[in-house]
Each structure stands twice: as structure tokens, then as C-alpha cells.
Symmetry: C2
Subunit: 333 residues, 2 copies
């Protein structure tokens, strides 16, 4: 799967900005690829991109329509389908982050097949993965891991990729979730892979590379999350990270979706993640802490980061407030 | 899925005894359910069950034909297909542990549908599982875990189930792999579940129960296995074990399939497994060690078990040589 850009961001009738979270992430990290947005009546999301009809997008050179929104009730409204059929008629491909598989919708599947166009369901891996072999491979890899889910692991990986590129270091973001896949143009939704193949899929996603090349592997879940830790464990083993960054959200009241589960402390996380990572890479180290401090004012954020650094002995930053330079400084480049 | 017994064990033209490993496990633990075996010319496996034709099995009251063998090259030979069609014609269901899905073989699928008979592909879960909720649930659960894969976790769970039944304790074996599923008549191949649902599938497999009831959950993989630890982690969290048994094979040269990976020591395993298990059950404890000492003579086995017990402070047995009474004595019944 290689999703071709530039993109048209299809927002449909997204009820609010949150429903377009994925599309927004793509715009933040790949604005150059996003030529416009497509909105239907009733759409309450806005990426601040030029509004375009399907015809205008085709004329502007869009190669792929990106369905980066949540659809209501998990089904594809007719009002969307008409427009997506038009996109195929005009020679554009479609990549979807919906749970619904667009590749199984007959009218889209038939048109795409007839015209030799791709329909990409990025939540649903189609590859045949191998069982992980655990063999050490050249190239360096960094993996952000979390105290919890949804604490900024993708943002961290992308910010570090950008900082490495700015410093002239060879680096590639490797996507493991739907937003990341749109941003990278390729990747594997590892949480949707058959359990036996989690680590194997990651070995394939971030393969052997030049000794001075860094893969920034998108993290998923948390070893401390009762629902998803299996995915996280397999991802760690497959990534064989040389470097990890511990990601955290300040003041989160409990583990995401699990009110009975407190968020672990940073110092509780570090040895557990190190033990997991050192199974497949005995040299694994933490190189920094990234905290989402959006709930704090400047002074409180600074204080929080100072304490996080004292607790862990690592540089601690909010990637949005501070950038990730201090963490990259600490990487074994 | 409820696989009805009694069974006919279909060995086909299995080239050797090892190819019938699954069938043999079923016979060992559920001999009463196994009325006979079916062998084709060239079969070199023998379960020491009465040989039966498909017609004889139907006449004897067999409800399900069990495909508990490895097929060569992953495809279904015509010589097997003819016999399986005959089984459906005679009203028997089929349960298969093959990678090949029998439910997608047109001649079998059509016959089964027409007659309302089940075709069960036990390696391929068909349920829609939920994401794990991590909520504590009543009933007690024991989970065998391993230094490595294939160290006797299923055997341990079944031996403890039998010992508990002998002592009048309510107990149920919960199967998570193909052989176990044939033995239990139900279960989920957790390594074939989509990664996000590993823990959720186990929560469903071993649900809330009476406070004095024990589920013996079949273990899978090892937290120390670079290929499968994600499955193991999800299984531990979903099982919420009150008790764990550490399983090990004496003198194994390296982790199964991974020549570069040494087998961890018992004392290295215990704290790591405890940390994993205590996320969802803070009361999790180890209650014993089970060692496969088949490579050792009696004196060496005794010595090995004594050292294992000294190293861990737990009762250590070879379930085959010693039974599991000492471990059950140590369970918080």
C-alpha cells in the first residue's frame, strides 16, 4: 500500500471538529499534501483548507481522497457514496480510516477495479505477515511509549522525525495507526493484525536499514492499559528500539476508558518498558520524556516538566511548547 | 461454538506420530469421548483407538469428526475430502484444527448448510469480541505461564482441573488453542484473534463465576518469547489470574524457534509475570512450578525439581512424574 498524494480531505457531514481528528492530524503534519477539504451540508468541522468539490479536486491534481472522519453509526451515507463514486470516475483513489471497509462496497469496488484504482482501508491490514524472528537488524529505531493510550506518541515520533531531518539525519516515520498511515502514505494498523503477527508486522514495517538511519516507529497503547497492552508488547518486541521516549499527559484522571485504573508514575513505567524492550534489543535506553501539558498554564507546565526530569533523570519536554530538541540531543545518533 | 462429542479422530494419511500431536492430546485427556480413529493408507500415526470407517463411526454414535492432524502443504487432499463429505452425509459434524478453513471448501460448506450441520475451524475465531474492560469479576482463575512456548502449560491446566475435580472443587478448563478446544469442546484460539481484542476475548472465555469456582485458563506463548509475547500479555490481563504456575522444560537449549535467545531463569520470570498480572489482579500470586523433566532420569529430575523449588520458594513438580497435588495444596482454594 502506497497512498499517493496530494490529498483531498473528505469531511462529509462531520458533526463536529472532533469527528475530523484524523483529517486534522494529516493537515498538521502534511499540509503540503492537503490541497483542499470537501464538506457536505451539515458539516461542522473545518480544517481551514480551501473548500473544493470533487471535480475541482480532480482538476487541481488530487490523487487520493482521504476519508479521515468518523461516520455516524458505522455506515456509509448515500450522500457520501455519490461523491466517492464521482471521485473514482474522475480517476482519484480513495483511502479510508473508517471501520466500514470501503473495498467491500460493491459500487466502489466495481468502479475501482474497472479503472485500476486503489481503495485503501487503512484500519484493515491486508498483508500476509510473518511470525517475528527476533533477529537483530541494522539501522536505529526510536519508539515512543506511554503511561497510557492517547498521550501524544504519534506526535512525538513525527516531531522527532522533523527535528532529525532539520539536523540532516536520515529518518523515517513508520506508521502503526490510521492517522499515521495517511501521514506516511503507508504503514500497518498493528492493532488490527492477527495477534500472532504483531511483532512480525512491525519487523516488516521497520526493516533493516543503514546503520545511521533512524526509524521513528509510531507507538500504540500502553503496557499499563488493561485492554491494549498485548498490542504494545508485540510492538516493542518487533521494533527492537534503541531509544524510547516516555509519553504522558499531565493531570489525566485515570487510564483512558478505565475509570478503575490509575495512571502509573513515570518512574514506575521506565523499568517495565526497559525490561520488555531489552528482550529483543539489550541496548534499549530511554532518551527523554514528552508530556502533553495542555491542561496547565506556562508556570505549572514548567514546574511539571522540571519534576518529570528530576524523577526520571531524562530531558522532559512538552513537544508543542518546547519542541523535541532536548530529546534529540540525548539520542545516540 | 460447542463441539459435540463423542468424536472420531481423523488421522488421514498422517506421515508420523508427531503429525497427530493434537489428536493424541485429545485422546489423552478425553479418551471417553474418542470412540475411534480413521486412518487412510499411508497413515503412520496410531492413537491406539479402534480403527473405524466413516460409516462405522456414524453407526457407533459419533457426533463430530475431529481433524487433529497436520495436512501436508496446507491443502486438503481429495482422499480426505471424499471421507469428510461422507461424514456430513451421515449426519456428523466436523471440527478442524487445520490452517486451511474447512468452512470455505465449497463441497463441505454446501452439504453442511443443507443439513444444518456445523463445520468448526477452531484455529479461526469467528466471534465478535469486545475490547477488554479490565473490570474485576468474581470467580477464581489460574493461569499457567511459561519460560518459553510449548513447555506444558495446557497439560498443567488440565492436570490441575482433574485434581480439583477429584477434590470436589468446582473447576473448568478454558481452552485458548486448538488442542485445548477439542478437549474442552469450546474455546477461542487467542493467537488468531485481532490484536486489539486479545484481552477482551479472554474476559469472555473465562467470565464471572461463583466465588468458589476455578477457571483453569490455558496459557499461550511466553512473555520472554520475541515472537509471541503480545499474545501472552493480553492473555494474562484478560485472565486476571489469582494464581499462576510457572512452566518450564528442563535442559531446553534456547527459546523455541529462536536460536539466539536463551531461556530465562525461573527467578527472572517470576517478578515480570507478577508485574504483568497484578495490573488487572493485584492479588495475583505464583502457586507452583511445573517442569517437563522428560529429558532427565529419575535422580536428575528430582534434583532439578529440588533446585527449582529452592530458587523460587514454590512447590515444583513434574506433572507426569509427580502429579500436581503439591501445587493444588498451595492454591488459595
Amino acid at each position: 500500500m502506497e497512498i499517493r498524494h496530494p490529498y483531498l480531505m473528505f469531511l462529509g457531514d462531520a458533526p463536529d471538529q472532533l469527528a475530523a481528528k484524523t483529517a486534522n492530524g494529516v493537515k498538521v503534519w502534511r499540509e503540503d499534501w492537503c490541497l483542499g477539504q470537501f464538506r457536505l451540508p451539515g458539516c461542522n468541522a473545518d480544517l481551514k483548507l480551501p473548500d473544493m468539490s470533487i471535480e475541482e479536486a480532480a482538476a487541481a491534481g488530487v490523487k487520493t481522497v482521504i476519508l479521515g472522519v468518523a461516520n455516524r453509526g458505522g455506515f456509509m451515507p448515500d450522500s457520501w457514496l455519490v461523491e466517492l463514486e464521482k471521485a473514482l470516475d474522475l480517476g482519484m483513489e480513495i483511502a479510508s480510516g473508517l471501520h466500514t471497509r470501503i473495498s467491500t462496497i460493491p459500487s466502489l469496488a466495481e468502479k475501482a477495479k474497472a479503472k485500476g484504482l486503489g481503495l485503501y482501508d487503512v484500519r484493515h491490514p491486508t498483508g500476509n505477515f510473518s511470525i517475528a524472528n527476533g533477529k537483530r537488524r541494522p539501522g536505529k529505531r526510536l519508539l515512543p511509549v506511554g503511561t497510557d493510550c492517547s498521550v501524544g506518541k504519534m506526535f512525538t515520533a513525527l516531531a522527532i522525525e522533523r527535528e532529525l531531518h532539520n539536523r540532516g539525519v536520515k529518518a523515517s516515520f513508520r506508521a502503526t495507526g490510521q492517522t499515521g498511515i495517511f501521514i506516511a502514505g503507508s504503514g500497518v494498523s498493528v492493532d488490527a493484525v492477527v495477534a500472532d503477527f504483531i511483532s512480525g508486522a512491525v519487523e516488516e514495517l521497520a526493516p533493516a536499514n543503514d546503520a545511521d538511519h533512524w526509524d521513528l516507529v509510531e507507538g500504540q497503547g500502553s503496557l499499563f492499559h488493561a485492554s491494549y497492552a498485548g498490542v504494545t508488547m508485540g510492538l516493542i518486541h518487533g521494533a527492537q528500539p534503541d531509544a524510547m521516549v516516555l509519553c504522558h499527559e499531565a493531570n489525566r484522571p485515570h487510564m483512558r476508558g478505565l475509570p478503575e485504573y490509575p495512571v502509573p508514575s513515570l518512574s514506575e513505567c521506565i523499568p517495565y518498558y526497559l525490561q520488555a524492550a531489552r528482550l529483543t534489543n539489550p541496548d534499549a535506553q530511554f532518551v527523554g520524556v514528552c508530556v502533553n501539558t495542555s491542561s496547565l498554564d506556562d508556570a505549572a507546565a514548567e514546574d511539571f516538566l522540571k519534576k518529570a526530569s528530576d524523577e526520571t533523570g531524562l530531558p522532559a519536554v512538552d513537544p508543542i511548547r518546547n519542541g523535541v530538541g532536548a530529546i534529540v540531543d540525548n539520542m545516540p545518533l
